[in-house]
Amino acid sequence: MIALTNVTKRYPGGHEAVKNATLSIERGEMVFLMGHSGAGKSTLLKLIAAIERPTSGKVVVNGQNLGSLRARAIPYLRRNLGLVFQDHKLLFDRSAFENVMLPLNIQGYDRRDAARRARAALDKVGLLGHEKALPVTLSCGEQQRLCIARAVVHRPAVLLADEPTGNLDAAYAAEIGELFRAFNQVGATVVIATHDVQLAERLAPRLIAIASGRVDTLAAAAA
């Protein structure tokens, strides 16, 4: 499903955030990218979502080599992905419902069908009661869950989540972990960048350790 071969990412300014990384993630897998802050986890996710381009090496997602993908094709690649951003990236002038509708509008879903799916997604993350609320009126955990609802509403084949439990207390984190587990159980490939060891213990995914931009594959068991 996702394969990186000898990928290096050097940011303008010369810093190498990812160094010669090779890894492969199968369809339907749940994988955690674990490492300290600044290890290069976010950069790896951005490379997979074609938000950043590798300085060298090859990235293949869903059978498509991103290096040879034309700019016009990138939106269609991203429609197979669900992205949970570290900083949520919600639209603050739109209601929770409108935020979740966004991916469906972009993909041209019929309005009624889209509304049904959006409500189902909001229900799944426990925000159905906050449909009309603006994101600013939601707590941090609720915003995080809203972001997840928006990421899964169009049933993507791959879910990429960046620090989804970053600033949540344990109870919320556990809840969100269950959401990911459920999503993985219905067949989606789930890739989570995190340093939350408790979450890793709970979900028992395959772990890929990242340290200073280098990949270090460990056993599938929790550390």
Binding site: A49, R72, P75, R78, R79, L102, I106, Q107, R150
Partner: protein
Amino acid sequence: MRAWLLHHARAAGAALRKLGRSPLSTLFNIIVVAIALALPAGLYVALTNIQQAVRTLSPEPQLTVFVALEASKAEVSLIDTRLKEHPQVARLRYVPRERALEDMKRASGMGGIAEALERNPLPDAFVVDAADPAPDVMDRLRTEIAAWPKVAHVQLDAEWAQRLDAVLKVGRVALLLLATVLAFSLVAITFNTIRLQMLTQREEIEVTTLIGATDGFIRRPFLYYGAGLGLLGGLAACGFVWTATTVLNGALIDLSYLYGARWEVAQLSWRDSASLLAFAAALGWLGAWMSVARHLGRVRPR
């Protein structure tokens, strides 16, 4: 096809909502666009009306052929025949010199002078209606006839009308220049408005790009906004011109009572109004398109 229509309907709806979200700046933009459009539209209405007036005041230009004083009756009738047989001559009226003198005597103020004359100083004359009243055709005909024997002088009547026509032609060129300049300014206005909008909607553009929006999806509401701005500005411009013409007509009614005539300034026609709206919408669309093409790469990541 359905999805495509749906996309467009949504984009149009979003654009309308944007127009409505900041009513004051929208109103201001519409007024600026309207002024840019009302100036050439108003000038156009003025030119059309002057042209119409000129046409009613001088029906058809005519040539007056003055025969030399010393010409004999035979020579005059030769000129008469040549004129009758000329293919460019549509109608011909002979004014004998005696008649001309009578006319002059009857004309107010000239009577005394005519009485005082010992002999008739006026020549025989022919008034010619040409088959084709185009100015250059008339001019050639005049030169041709003037070269005939015993023709003293050929006068092109309604010369003032032709001169005015030439002035109007200059007016039309000026209108074209003005319209071009203001069309550019309309494009510039939408270009800049869309640029500001894109800056304020930076986040929305970024987020939608990240979750799979195509350039077309992002561009569409801005295009509709630009076209909508042009359209509303065009409507307002039509309103300005209509109001100005109506006010002018109100004033003219009083004046035309004094002269016992009915004067009226013609409104911008429906067809011209429709063209103006279409033109304005197209320019707004163009300005928006150029703005998005220029700024999309800068506003969003990647």
